[in-house]
Symmetry: D2
Subunit: 359 residues, 4 copies
């Protein structure tokens, strides 16, 4: 099974190169009679195209064309296919890169794998690929909403600036109204200056994104290999430039004692709940009803506008400054993509859960 | 697809409860004519049963019985099935837990999912499940060895004690001869004292495991959703108590600038290589020929021997001290399990790679 | 994905060679809290070991050992693993065949695929493999029974003797009490003589098996490629020696006019039903609530006790009479195997159906 | 896994409703550096749109638009996405059918499954869906051609007229130049009269299609459940109106004796071959190097222009004459579709075969 399909029952197949005619996808397994909110889907795409200092100058309209699976706005249970045309292709920018391997890009590895690659804008390895993820994720979100489940992300770090130390401190309500989705909106000014400064130097930044999923019922997840956290990890580690994943207390858990770490349960008014949520809403690979919380770290965008030594397919090396359109920091734009992948995972597990019992 | 199968072409299905008759698995897709080294497989199982202060008193012999797929020691290409009997069951220890949800265990969530659970020793959610992973992983290692690929892990942290700050500092050769597989063998005494002390207090510890994969050729990995790091993340996050995953520079990458982070390539004697390996051997989801390096963090074992408040299925709460057999720290035993999962991923991608080109 | 796993959500992985230590399987995805009836499962295995003139002298006890997934007789939702030991191996019979390709067997093709094969009794290609199918199928039947669904087969032809011309004529109630499961029990004497005669000549026979599935609700089946009939066809065509599949009116439909063929619907007491069932209970790949009816044709057992010219791996040819244990007609024993495969398909689609709607 | 994806490694996902904006698909796993012949693909689509008495008046231009996966005409190894617009929609024809269940159509069953359906022209259940199969199949054919493998079909029966009794009698060379792809071109006049006559009566016909695959190397096929014939059966039984499948001698095998049936092998000039090909090129589920031969039977088109009693969703019944565009016989148009599905199966198994051995 090749790698462009995600999920088992709520199943998304993606296609498209950065500078090809179109990107898009097919969602197979979305249950019948879900009402799509096209305005919401388009607004999610806008969140992927945020405008801030150093964000790419390639501002595609990214209009979704629906090809199948709908009766008006209602899903038929048949495959939902969609496409988004690539309108602002400036392939000329990339001609000089046809035989050059850009540092920390996928140029060398795609050629090692396929013996051929589309060098224009990174081809299939371009971040532009995520536009299809956002569309699929927004459908998953609409599906989840009908069950009272909500997926929300926030930027918790940009380069050297940390915006939050723990999930407990993040006010996701406030974050949602912040343009850059910063976990700590009061630092917006500082971040904007940082972005401006980095842009002026031609350099790039990474960062981290936190994500919280509210309203997940207990019982989602498939032991042993398909634990919920394993699928979430796979989902977000498949986003380009992701370098780390942690959930609940994450890395910090490694340094703690069990007596301090363990999530004690309590009963209030006949309802089970947890005193703490160090496990991040998942125990034994299965949701426990608490918020699911995880965090993803991203390396800096590899396309710096500073001379770098590069190797060519012909065996020569030379110093090059990359042309083309690139973000200097993609982290604020990644929030909606992280959310999309998380939503796809939870939607899939809602359907998988239906097989666990006799009726 | 239920969650007890791992891999696409090199495919492992696992079964067994902690206190049932047996654990085991079926490996379907191991190519024909691989010679199994049964001594090696048994030695890997011994690495999972390490003896150290606070390691569990359940020392099963863990003898593998082979049921199919072999002509002598040679694989036939047909399913390799094996089992390991559970010999030292002390189910009585668990009778008092039949209706109690232990903190930060899978008791509550399994019941939420299935409406029924095997409470004896955690049933399917027990760490004992990993015995089958080690057998499958050792076969994957034998397969990889024939291609010159080697998977090696090391303990980089136990509780508060860090044993290594970066991959570059780990001498995996030395580590291999260290009983506990510590990344810094000179700290063995300190670790042994820490384990002793924690055991005497009835408390437990977590830690981190680093893993390096040598000899991987460029070109392994399946974009977009099945990037090599996404599969590695899923693989190790499916191990019980895993809380975090990072590869290459990992979390630290989020704070760096692109101009500092990027892995510059060079050509020496006609051969491409990399000046640094911040990307951890994977770019665009595909291996680049450098060592693949990743790290996994584990929370402390949840079974402390200290009174904890627990909730029962009947809605009551009471303070309980857990009986039964438990490690106070499982991290040294996790090394071989992390290696096993990594080996399964690489073996699978060796086979998947064969489809990428015409011939 | 290698070929020893069947089904998507109700998922069966099989293992074992004819003369290896054991055969067995893992059923992953059987919902929790199904009560297994071990007596029923054993009785199904007996149906596979029917005794009649020319049936094989290898009468294994075929006792099932359960390895996991159960609390007493109740499924836990975790993998159900089982094995059946091979007790009556007479591998010596096969030594002369180590390098010979038996006509119309899998000897030559396994070697072409794997470069190696287990020649003892056909190895993995032996009909003995079906013992695991029967166990898995009997669990599927118990699952289906809880929904009021029943799978019943009958022998409709043995060699030149046809026992039924159409589904409508088969009295499955009567058939069930017939030792050989003949669709027309009054012909039992004729069949027994035919079997006796063929056996005495060292020759073999084929035949056909019909199968009816009662109680299937409308709505099972997954368009476009996973139509219910496509899965049934795959299921039974995977049984060794199967050469043909048809459902409903089958081959005869090709010669009919639409105006005669079409199944007209009616409404009686507010309930939709069909005047005829030419479509065999499936329309557009989805069940319509009528009985699902299909038929499978099998070629004669290839192991005749008559001299045949055979080719060896060394390039020589010679005339050989096959030794070893073989049925002269396997068709009566195939009934329970056909039923097993059909039951697995329907069980899978019961679970798949649960994803088709929002709730 | 929902049902709109076919294949494991050479993997085709299909989408589109008969009267929606477009149909199309995504092929994931086609190896890199295959050169597409767009003229050939278009010519295959023309074969699906054959013109003969009673063939549908809906003659779409069926122009393929390529969306991704190509550098010029060369595959990149990334997903090949394509679409075909629906240009001649006359949805009004279907308004009266919004709540009526047409006999032997998928109307009732889709509603039973999804609770909703696209009634316009059958929606997803329409035969128009096969246009995407033909495109995918033509790419598979181009892939196979590079290995010297060719897939060829022929009409062997239309309604009461049989055109061939056995594979041996079919001259596929001659057939290829026959407009209707009749196995016996000399009967073309008779067939044309039959089609004319049936059309004038408003009735419809079924028939059978034979298919031969030349040049398949020995060793393709995945035992146990994924035998080559099982995948071929699933492939063609997923085509709407297919009712029967047989390979090699097929149904006739059930009546034969083993001594007559068995395919004897011989050695000529050091090369193994077979005296007969009763097994149809597959033994033990694996190809043996002989031509792969199978046959598919199709019921008559259900859309007759004769009054039929129909049931409505509201519980009423009435007599209706169907409007809309329909073939009176679809069999000549099915040839290219059967070929397409067979080509997809063989292409998939070429890739699967690469995993069977160590190197």
């Amino acid at each position: 099974m090749p790698g462009n399909t995600f999920g088992k029952l709520f199943r998304f197949t993606s296609f498209g190169e950065s500078h090809g005619p179109a990107l898009g996808g097919v969602i197979d397994g979305c249950p019948a009679a879900l009402e799509l909110d096209f305005g919401f889907i388009q607004s999610e795409l806008l969140r992927r195209n945020l405008d801030y200092p150093g964000s790419t100058s390639r501002k595609e309209p990214d209009e979704v064309e629906w090809l199948s699976g709908l009766s008006g706005a209602i899903t038929l249970g048949t495959p939902l296919a969609f496409l988004i045309r690539n309108s602002k292709q400036q392939s000329d920018d990339y001609e000089t890169l046809a035989s050059v391997y850009r540092p920390s890009h996928a140029d060398f590895t795609y050629e090692a794998k396929y013996g051929i690659r589309d060098h224009r804008g990174g081809g299939r390895a371009s971040g532009r690929e995520t536009v299809a993820r956002v569309v699929a994720g927004s459908i998953a979100k609409l599906f989840l909403k009908s069950f009272g489940i909500f997926v929300e992300g926030a930027v918790t770090r940009i380069g050297p600036v940390c915006l939050s130390d723990s999930f407990k401190d993040i006010d996701f309500e406030k974050t949602r109204t912040n343009h850059l989705r910063l976990a700590n909106p009061s630092k917006e000014e500082e971040i904007l200056q940082l972005l401006q400064q980095t842009e002026s130097e031609g350099d790039t930044l990474g960062g981290t994104v936190a994500c919280r999923i509210r309203g997940v019922p207990p019982g989602l997840g498939e032991p042993v290999f398909d634990k919920l956290q394993a699928h979430l990890a796979k989902a977000v580690m498949s986003i380009g430039t992701a370098k780390s994943f942690e959930y609940g207390l994450g890395q910090a858990a490694a340094g703690m004692r069990g007596s301090v770490y363990n999530d004690i349960m309590k009963i209030e008014e006949g309802k089970v709940s947890f005193v703490t949520n160090h496990d991040g809403g998942i125990q034994g690979g299965i949701s426990n009803g608490e918020d699911i919380c995880f965090q993803v770290g991203f390396k800096p965008v590899p396309s710096v506008r500073i001379p770098q030594q590069m190797v060519s397919a012909d065996g020569s090396t030379r110093e090059i400054i990359l042309a083309g359109r690139h973000d200097n920091c993609h982290v604020p734009r990644l929030v909606v993509i992280v959310e999309a992948m998380a939503a796809l995972v939870i939607a899939d597990h809602i359907l998988l859960k239906r097989s666990s019992r006799m009726l």
